[in-house]
């Protein structure tokens, strides 16, 4: 390893443009002849569109066009689809309702777009959007999934009777019931996983340009996966064939899942650019983001966890209702099934698991993957139940976990996943030591003297990342493969460009990916550039989500590097008249081992391109492409420990310590990995203590801005104590497991377990706001305990 290679804390190459204000985000793009789009959004959660009067808006100076859903449909723009087919337990396909980018007959949530105004300026477009008179006939609405399933609930899509999208199950129900019937102790809980708004700080944006001569579209957009966007826009939404559509995702200001999907606004901008002959730009404001960006989570679950007399888990039965919102977003169906129920074994050896999931339409924003996507819901359920069970059984929570840890790998769970490697006890022990759990009792006593309640909570999480083996997900209904591609171009002067289908929107790929290349060929980091985010430049890619860029994206790069290395060695062996097996690459040179025969790295590049003296039959050039399809998911795991103090007078909770021990496999850049953990933990704390999307009974969004949706701020969170105890992933060349989502997955149960420990009642839902904690204390009568 060099000081710039794998494992080095290399400072980020991309920072200079961001710290000087020279990042290039989509809203920074300005095209010649650019017009602006503003959407006419439904103020009702559910209504029929009886008519649209465009005349007043069209008459306004500066308005170019007012376009509606029927026009979009007439032009052949296809419906927005969910790309993962989940089949109900009775064998029937999921009930996917039609979703047009602009509503045609009905609007189904507050913010559903009924029309779009294209105008000379953003201000004119917004003013004109308010002048479009939509005649709505309001219909009864429902925002809560369980209520949407009830008899007599408003029917949201005709082809989803009772608003049921699917009724799916996994595992052996009879065996699980039998195991629970024979259990010595059963812990039973109802757990809500609160609905969240992803809130990347950069709002979504799109700039679409149509070239009528070439019949070619260009879309700049805030995407985590520009190639997937192009694929879907082309194959399903019929905007244009792929060779006539370029999608560019330049600097993107965070995603967290919400920028995976291809939204109505991007489709509409593309279509409107063709209709108007103008470049069309739309940039969401934050209020619009709350109304239109896919939300996350929103599960309600009842579960039973059974133990034998030795406190070994015998069975786990789970029944979940998942709120999908008004339409099925791109990967929505997979979140509460293959990304959730398949992780219900946690870190534990459980023979019998059964999970039933009902997915439900409601009159709310569509719900899809948000950082963690299904795995936070699974982890929260498993880890709150383990902690609660330990309290009921009167054993130490960590001891109950130890008694049930999986210790041999590979381990096949009863819910599809086969864990390949891990050492759960090592993470637990490391976290216990780092958190000074031994000293907790003394700290608690000291807190009590000050009249405050101190609590300790644990969470031993596991997740499935490195999404995903294509054949496996294909067999489970995915409409796409989830491989990744890479191209490594060694230039004639020896510098290197790596083209990757992974997309960096904060993850630091330009640095970490370059480190892998630098490490491989012992080259300076500055000679290596990472190129991503443009379908015209990068051959193909599936993008960044599911903690896959390291495990899958880098693996593709490594495969391409293998090919480059082989060719470099062939050329050098030929030029230096040696055996390929004796060629070594180090210190910027390609050498014959044990001799002083060598050529500079750049000379090999030059040889490849001058092609004056290549081995017989070798093609000129030094550029290799690879596609990598993972053999399995990867399984990052770890233990998080949270220590809190609760003020019983106000319910205010302060996190005093937050300790992480993660197993991410091989780590390329510890600085970047720790940053990913920090951010994930903060989002987990947000979910646990601050954040919740609230709709009223009429489907009106109550938390529509930062005035009411609580974003974690600097004084809401502590410094985090992050450690690693790693096993190597056996299924990819670098041994990487992935780190992007762990914090968001492992944190919420640790926080809630700590608060419930402090206040002495298990009856506490997320977000544990001061009011919620104070109310729980009032209800349990324990508020006086500390006084």
């Amino acid at each position: 390893m060099t000081d710039q290679g794998i494992g080095a804390r290399v400072k980020r190459k991309e920072d200079k443009r961001f710290t000087t204000g020279h990042g290039k985000y989509t809203d920074d793009v300005r095209m010649e002849n650019q017009a602006y789009a503003a959407f006419v959004r439904s103020p009702f959660a559910h209504a029929e569109i009886k008519g649209i009067d465009k005349s007043a808006a069209e008459a306004m100076e500066g308005v170019i066009a007012v376009l509606t859903g029927p026009e979009l449909v007439a032009d052949g723009i296809g419906n927005i689809i969910c790309g993962w087919a989940v089949t109900s337990k009775d064998g029937s396909p999921m009930n996917m309702g039609a979703w047009s980018a602009l509503a045609t007959e009905k609007v189904r949530y507050v913010g559903d777009a009924a029309a779009v105004v294209i105008a000379e300026s953003d201000a004119i477009a917004r003013r004109a959007a308010e002048a479009v008179e939509v005649d709505y006939a309001e219909l009864p609405a429902v925002a809560v999934a369980s209520k949407a399933l009830a008899a007599g609930a408003p029917q949201i899509h005709d082809n989803a009777p009772g608003n049921l999208i699917y009724d799916w199950e996994i595992g052996d129900e009879a065996a699980t019931d039998a195991a629970l019937a024979g259990a010595a102790h059963v812990t039973e809980m109802e757990i809500t996983n609160n609905r969240l708004a992803p809130n990347p700080m950069e709002p979504r944006s799109a700039v679409a340009t149509y070239d009528p001569i070439e019949e070619h579209y260009t879309l700049y957009t805030t995407s985590q996966n520009p190639h997937v966007a192009r694929l879907v826009l082309s194959a399903f939404y019929q905007v244009a064939p792929e060779n006539k559509l370029r999608v560019v995702a330049p600097d993107v200001g965070g995603g967290f899942g919400s920028k995976i999907y291809i939204y109505p606004e991007e489709i509409t901008c593309l279509w409107a650019s063709m209709k108007t002959g103008r470049s069309v730009k739309w940039t969401s404001d934050r209020s619009e983001a709350f109304m239109t960006d896919a939300h996350g989570r929103d599960h309600v679950t009842t579960a039973k966890l059974g133990f034998d007399a030795d406190n070994r888990i015998v069975g786990f039965k789970v029944d979940t209702i998942a709120n999908f919102g008004a339409y099925m977003s791109l990967f929505s169906s997979a979140v509460p099934t293959y990304l959730y129920a398949t992780l219900l074994s946690g870190q534990y050896d459980i023979a019998n698991i059964h999970c039933n999931v009902r997915a439900v339409y409601t009159n709310t924003v569509p719900v899809d993957a948000y950082r963690g996507a299904g795995r936070p819901e699974a982890c929260y359920l498993v880890e709150r139940m383990m902690e609660t069970a330990a309290r009921e059984l009167g054993v130490e929570p960590t001891e109950l976990r130890r008694a049930n840890f999986i210790r041999e790998f590979p381990h096949q769970t009863p819910v599809i996943m086969a864990y390949d490697a891990g050492d759960f006890e090592a993470n637990l022990d490391q976290a216990l030591a780092a958190a000074d759990v031994a000293g907790f009792a003394a700290r608690k006593a000291e807190s009590a003297k000050r009249g405050v309640l101190r609590g300790l909570g644990f969470s031993s999480y596991i997740e499935a990342c490195g999404i995903a083996p294509s054949a496996a997900v294909g067999s489970l209904g995915a409409g796409v493969g989830l491989w990744e591609s890479a191209e490594v171009r060694v230039n004639a002067v020896g510098t290197i460009e790596v083209l990757t289908g992974s997309h960096s929107h904060g993850q630091g790929h330009e640095t970490a990916f370059a480190q892998v290349v630098a490490d491989r060929f012992d080259l300076p980091l500055d000679s290596i550039s990472i190129v991503h985010g443009d379908t015209d430049t990068v051959q193909m890619g599936m993008g960044t989500y599911g903690s896959r860029s390291g495990a899958v994206g880098l693996s593709a790069i490594v495969k391409a590097l293998d090919k480059v290395e082989a060719k470099v060695k062939k050329i050098a062996a030929h030029v230096l008249e040696a055996s390929e097996d004796d060629i070594v690459i180090e210190g910027g040179q390609v050498k014959v081992a044990g001799t002083d025969k060598a050529m500079g790295w750049h000379e090999v590049g030059l040889s490849a391109y001058t092609a004056h003296n290549l081995p017989e039959g070798m093609e000129p050039g030094l550029k290799e492409t690879a596609f990598y399809d993972p053999a399995n998911f990867t399984f990052p795991a770890g233990t998080y420990i949270c220590e809190v103090e609760v003020d019983p007078e106000t319910g205010v909770t302060k996190i005093e310590r937050f300790t992480c021990s993660d197993d991410f496999g091989t780590i390329i850049n510890p600085m970047i990995v720790e940053g990913q953990v920090h951010g994930g933990v903060a989002q987990g704390i947000g979910q646990a203590m601050l954040e919740q999307v609230v709709y009223d009974d009429d489907g009106q969004l109550i938390t529509g801005s930062y005035m009411d949706y609580t974003m974690p701020r600097a004084d809401d969170v502590p410094f985090y104590d992050v450690h690693h105890a790693s096993t190597t992933c056996p299924n990819n060349p670098l041994g990487i497991k992935g780190c992007g989502e762990a914090g968001a997955i492992g944190t919420p149960p640790a926080v809630i377990n700590a608060i419930t420990d402090a206040i002495g009642t298990n009856d506490l839902a997320m977000p544990a706001t001061p009011q919620a904690v104070w109310s729980a204390l009032q209800a349990s009568g324990k508020s006086m305990a500390a006084e």
């Binding site: 201000a123 917004r126 003013r127 308010e130 209020s287 007078e649 106000t650 601050l690 609230v694 109550i702 938390t703 930062y706 005035m707 009411d708 949706y709 609580t710 974003m711 706001t769 001061p770 009011q771 104070w774 109310s775």
Partner: protein
């Protein structure tokens, strides 16, 4: 945002003329609330009359134990002003807790008081301190000035020019943040004054800022934490929303009052 006309008068008379000429003119004092409201198309004033350049509109003077603060004095200026700190530290502390540093560099005391947001901090201080609101045409006692949610005694086109505050013997402000907006979920300003103990509560009342009679009675008799703690706080007339029930707000009034007295 809708179109508007911006005016930056140098005198009160010019400001009044500009206000009178516009069909729906508004005073711009710092803009931290007004501009946000305009961006959301919830306000569309025809004219904005920026009073910050008017001579004498900002700054703090102290005479005979009375603070006079110009209406266009920013929160940051109030928070760091030496006279405020010396004579009414609680007011400086309150000003230093409004919004965030960037907001405090622009938001003004006059703007905050004229807007009378039910979760704003300044109205509680004005009521508890028995301040006098000085306008271009008259002086209004704080008790008569705040008249419910976003409602004040100001006439149309009347401009606040300054605030006069008698310095209290003791005072403190305890604020419990609404977690998202960081406005006051409950803010309690306690002041030991020549008129007895005065306690004003912001963030909690259905009709906006109000004086708390029971706490005032208790603290007038005995200015102590324990006296405040013994007062039973009724939830009647308190707001309930997603951030706090009336019962929780009532609890917070008690706790914040107690803590304010302790800090005074």
């Amino acid at each position: 945002m809708y179109s508007t006309r911006y005016h930056k008068p140098a005198t009160i008379d010019d400001a009044l003329a500009a206000l009178g000429a516009g069909d729906e003119a508004k005073v711009l004092a710092g803009g931290q609330t007004l501009l946000a409201t305009m961006k959301q198309h919830l306000a569309a004033p025809s004219d904005l009359v920026d009073i910050r350049a008017i001579d004498g509109m900002s700054g703090v003077t102290v005479q005979d134990n009375i603070l006079t603060i110009g209406a266009a004095t920013t929160h940051a200026e109030v928070a760091t002003n030496a006279d405020v700190r010396q004579h009414c530290g609680a007011l400086g502390q309150l000003a230093g807790g409004i919004g965030d540093p960037a907001v405090r560099h622009q938001g003004t005391i006059g703007g905050s008081i004229a807007n009378n947001d039910p979760a704003a901090d300044y109205p509680a201080a004005m009521l508890a301190l028995g301040a006098t609101i000085i306008t271009n045409s008259r002086e209004i006692a704080a008790d008569a000035f705040f008249q419910g949610l976003f409602t004040t005694a100001l006439d149309e086109n009347e401009i606040i020019t300054a605030i006069r505050i008698p310095c209290p013997a003791k005072a403190a402000y305890a604020k419990f943040n609404q977690p998202a907006s960081r406005f006051a979920l409950v803010g309690v300003f306690v002041a030991k004054t020549d008129m007895g103990a005065r306690v004003a509560v912001t963030g909690a009342g259905e009709d906006g800022v109000f004086r708390h009679a029971a706490l005032e009675a208790a603290l007038s008799a005995d200015w102590s934490e324990s006296a405040a703690a013994k007062v039973a706080i009724s939830a009647d007339g308190l707001m309930s929303d997603i951030h706090a029930s009336a019962a929780y707000r009532a609890n917070l009034i008690g706790v914040m009052a107690k803590r304010a007295v302790a800090a005074s």
